[in-house]
Symmetry: none
DNA sequence: GATGAATGAGTCTTCATTCAT
DNA sequence: GATGAATGAAGACTCATTCAT
């Protein structure tokens, strides 16, 4: 099924309408979950007629797809810009920076993030997510390969998989299910330890 | 919404019906996802009338709930029995045993496992999962506390959270998204390394 | 649709079963109304299998029909026996006796009486009720005709219709909707007045 | 359960749809009774899609509730306007006017009136009916109190209950079950007599 | 472009009734 | 006779989507 927006809004007003609709979609998604998401409800919540909604989105899934696209794009941008920014730092600092970053990334609209994550496979957007993951892993893999001499690893690819998965999950679960852990500074310290010891990076 | 079974089957015939219905539910869930799951489809696939289905399950969610319950129960039993069985082994062996076990646990009906995992929040069974997680964490936390002298950790509780999350996720993702990794013996080795180095357990 | 009982219970035990079923029907009718009456619920409430229920009653309506038959029979018997009993009394006393009687008749299981009354048309038993009414009217008409000389009426038939309807309704509504009126002795007095003055019977 | 209309029709077209739906509801109600009333049948009879029906009515009962509301409103308006109009007439004339009126009120769509009356309790609209009754009684009670000196009554309240109930029932039953009585002019005369003699109003 | 009325395929669910054991 | 498992027609209701105005 086609889930790309029907047409790019030309006028300013139209762009605003699209924004409003997506915002309403996000709100309903957070409040009622994917099953509670109906196009009519979105239109109503956006203060737009159902007809207008279909002017910009060919079907319901397109709404969610747009939201996911958006979400991923923002996370991607944030993460990758930060990643390249820290390349110059010593390894231990890089590790901490990435972990900090991931936590922050997960903390932006965590509720929406959660719904999106959980519903993603169903909207056929899992490809996007996996792709994102793959990019991240390749990047980390590259970084590991670069420092292979200094690190206690054999297969950068395998290690990247393990590290990205582990750290991403830890951040994800901490944000969603144990937010109280986030306020404890030892949480990040300990996560850094997991990575540093595995890689054989000297602790500070 | 109530999702507990309506009544327990008394006769053999009825027990078989319930089994058939649950099997059909699993099949459809795997094939068409939660959204493709309709009570009528389940009944048809089970070769049972829709009325029979509703004799035992008060609504659609109860079907999935029953499946989840079952799944969790089996995983729990397998994991915990194994956990206590390995208590006597040296730490490094314990780590490997648990990881092996988790992979095996995730490999039983992985497709169903995946759907179930993803749909859990929508059926309100997330409590069960979290509870299971909590139990696992407490168990690991206890083990860590017992060996605190020998291990490079400070807070057994925090470390347990990190380890359980990391290892569980790694196994989960490997089974579901990178099954090719499982055939590589270095995959388990490397995961063990992550844990051993973090805990400061001597590598063999 | 046939609503007569399927077969007369021969054995004592069977008779008891029928009683139990009807009692359960009445209970459910009172508690949940006609729409809440399901054969399965009746069977369960009666502690009988649904199969047994259908052994004695061919369908759901037969249950209600039996109850109505029963109810009418009991009311009829009570009323007519009393009516003939009071024939010898002076007219004013007869009037009071009948009114007293009607109130008492309506007060026996008023909840059931109400449901039965309201649901009667739907079970096609209104014929029975109208017939009962007709008999009552004919009886009163006869009584009026007998005393035509002493009474201020012209058409005994018409007067009977008016009186029976008025008195019956007053009792019905008092019992069901204004039970507080029943404890006031002036209520009966006043109803007697309505009748007596209409008929031109000297007040005591 | 909520039985208020879902949304008011704004466009002319929509208003017509609502009208059509209610008309179809009335037709089916009269023809097949409440149990024969299905939303699908109503939609079909109205020549409207089932979806349209649900745009305006949240559920089946709302259909009947709307009909009842309508019916009551019309009866109320007619009755009360007439009641105040006749205040100036002599008492005997007032009595006759009210009785005439009630008969006419009951004669408007008597079949629908009957079904509505019988089904009312089940749609939770009995409150409305009782309220209407109460208003009527209070009005009559007031009238009686005003003329207490001239009338042979003690408790205007009690007398109002008796009279309103009696007259209302007589009209109701005459219209529904003995329409042949209505053509007989003596029917109204006789009903007036019941009231006049009870109140001690001189017959003309 | 916008509106919102209308559509109807598709689901869930109930419950009277049958029938094998 | 009794049991209760099984049946399936029937009905309420939703919601993505279209289309006349």
């Amino acid at each position: 099924m086609k889930t790309t927006p029907r047409k790019a809004p030309r006028q300013e007003r139209a762009k605003a309408t699209v924004e409003t609709i997506l915002a309403a979609t996000a709100r309903i998604l957070v409040k009622h979950g994917y099953d509670g998401l109906t196009t009519n409800a979105v239109a109503a919540a956006a203060g737009v007629s159902i007809g207008s909604l279909y002017q910009y989105f060919p079907n319901k899934e397109a709404l969610v797809a747009a939201l996911i696209e958006d979400h991923i794009e923002r996370m991607t941008a944030a993460i990758f810009s930060e990643l390249s920014r820290v390349q110059a730092l010593p390894l231990a600092a890089q590790v901490r920076a990435v972990i900090d970053l991931l936590i922050r990334a997960h903390s932006v609209e965590p509720k929406l993030h959660r719904v999106l994550t959980e519903q993603v496979p169903r909207v056929g957007r899992i490809g996007k997510i996996l792709e994102l993951d793959a990019i991240g892993q390749r990047m980390i893999s590259g970084m590991l390969a670069m420092h292979k001499g200094t690190l206690a690893i054999r297969d950068p690819d395998l290690s990247a998989f393990i590290l990205v998965t582990a750290v991403e999950s830890i951040c994800h679960r901490a944000v969603l299910f144990s937010p109280e852990r986030l306020v404890d500074p030892r949480f990040v310290d300990e996560t850094c330890l997991l990575v540093n010891r595995y890689l054989g990076i000297a602790e500070q």
